[in-house]
Amino acid sequence: MVAAAELAPPTGAFEPGKAVEPPLLRIEGVAKNFGSFRAVNGVSLDIRAGEFFALLGPSGCGKTTLLRMLAGFETPDEGRILLDGRDIARVLPHERPVNMMFQNYALFPHLNVRDNIAFGLKRARMSRAEIAVRVAEMMALVKLEGLEKRKPDQLSGGQRQRVALARSLARRPKLLLLDEPLAALDKKLRESTQIELMEVQRRLGMTFIIVTHDQEEAMTVANRIGVMDAGRLDQVATPRELYEAPNSRWIAEFVGDINLFQGEVTSRVQSDLTIATREAGTLTASEPHSAISKTMVFLAVRPEKIKLSRHGPAADGEGSAINRLGGVVTDVSYLGGTTTYKVKLDSGVVIRSSMANTTRLDKDSHGPGQRVVAWFTPDDCVVLEQ
């Protein structure tokens, strides 16, 4: 188990040594209204060159509007967008060194693959020879050689996605924006394309910002994730930090599955908090990186941190603070790699536990109706104030 305290430092706003280097992109207090609807509400964010950044949030959270302001399709009502130190908030889209890969690819249906990729290069007044070289390079990068003459409607969904990627990369933008680029692909293809996207980004050393509502996708591809809700940027963190140390109940629930217990902090011994909950009795949790100031808190535990056994772990010296909850298994879902259990605690609350199936033969599995002890350590808990 990784304690929350070990997670925080390398990813937040402060990074010693690198702090002097200005970010590639600085978003400063940007806001956008559509009529009386505040789509983006005072977002500030720094993105370093070479990062793969994900904007994650439910639909309508403002992530796409923020991306469109970076591309120049929307003008912010407030704030500044600095690219390499220059404010581009009011620069027209065709004059920005930024390119975008559109959600439905927006390939030009009247142009073949070659001309789609060459479109931006011709606008950049490159010579014919240079264009030919660059197009060939891009076709090789996305593995589409031989399809130069095809029209978009003669391509499969996956091929179209690659053409869109090649077209948006061809001008070698300082910043590539990807608007739900994989939403139209089926699950298998989406997963392999995520890996390819990461490879392309690493090989070209470009800065990518991807917008997605799929938290697994964001965690797979991105170095850092910004979670948006109702126009605000709620947390910016690495995938691991976001999952293991979310800073709010909302994010804990949005990113992955979680068990939540509301309770009151009754005592504090060194870094261990004792929290009295109604649903699960008295629990012990490690204090998070930033000290808790409220007494009414939420204690959150990821399902895979909750272990089930018939009798609970053997009490020993270090495990003295282990949280044990008695209950009955009500539901078992076998998912291949893991099995998810629903356990009804004695208080009547149902919690979820997810355990890896590390052996082929399930000697230790628990069937419905089985009485079990659900247990987790103080380090497995996240204490949330909001």
Partner: protein, 304 residues
Amino acid sequence: MSARNIFTRPARLAAIAPYLWMVLFFLVPFGFVLKISLSQTVIAQPPYAPVFDFSAGWTALKAAFGALSLDNFRLLVSDDLYVLSYARSLVVALASTAMLLLIGYPIAYGMARLPRRWQPVAMMLVIVPFWTSFLIRIYAWINILQHDGLLNRVLLALHVVSQPVVWLSTDSAMYLGIVYSYLPFMILPLYATLAKMEPALEEAGADLGASPFEVFWLVTFPLSLPGVGAGVLLCFIPIVGEFVIPDLLAGSDSLMIGQTLWLEFFTNKDWPVASAVAVVLLAVLLLPLLVYDRLQRRQLEEAR
């Protein structure tokens, strides 16, 4: 017995319906016209020599075939009245179609860019003139354009002109009438293509460094070509055969082919020549359509 059979038979019947319509209301009447065009004029009722008399038997039929003449078509080529009429019709149709495209495109583009809830209103405004009879609208124009009409009174009041201008019976009046009458037929197909175009395509153009003009010329316009084609055909073909507007608004010194046809038919009572005029007109209109179709097919094959 499968469910398939139940559905295929009516489906096949439905597919026949348009062909049946074409045969009944186009091919058969055209056959009559073609037949008359090969006949000679006589003073009788109907005013042309019968071509086939099926009751007269096989030999008579053979004789009738031998008597068929292309004289009427020869006349069309030899008398420059017809050639000039065809030429004028084509010139007027080309010029007015070009004007219609230049005026209709910006209107259709503007409509397609209106907020969604205003688009039906704009569409209504385009269609609303159809609520009034076409003839009444043309007579209204005569009223506006005449010597002491609204236009001259306004121009005089504004001191733009010192004397009333002659508008009626000029080509300007005719072009005005044609453009006014056909504008909805140009706007509606253009609007339909422009409105369903994905806005992201224009954004993609801008994103890839195209200026607003380049976005229009390289993305929007090429993608609206099906609408342009439909609008141009919907206007060009009926304008070539237009009779009412040139007759009421243009001068009488040169005629469009529709007017010539009307003259042959009603004034000269020469049905065979009138029919020949109609047959040639159809050929003239069909030719560009066939060429267009052939070109499109070739393009499709190249893409494959």
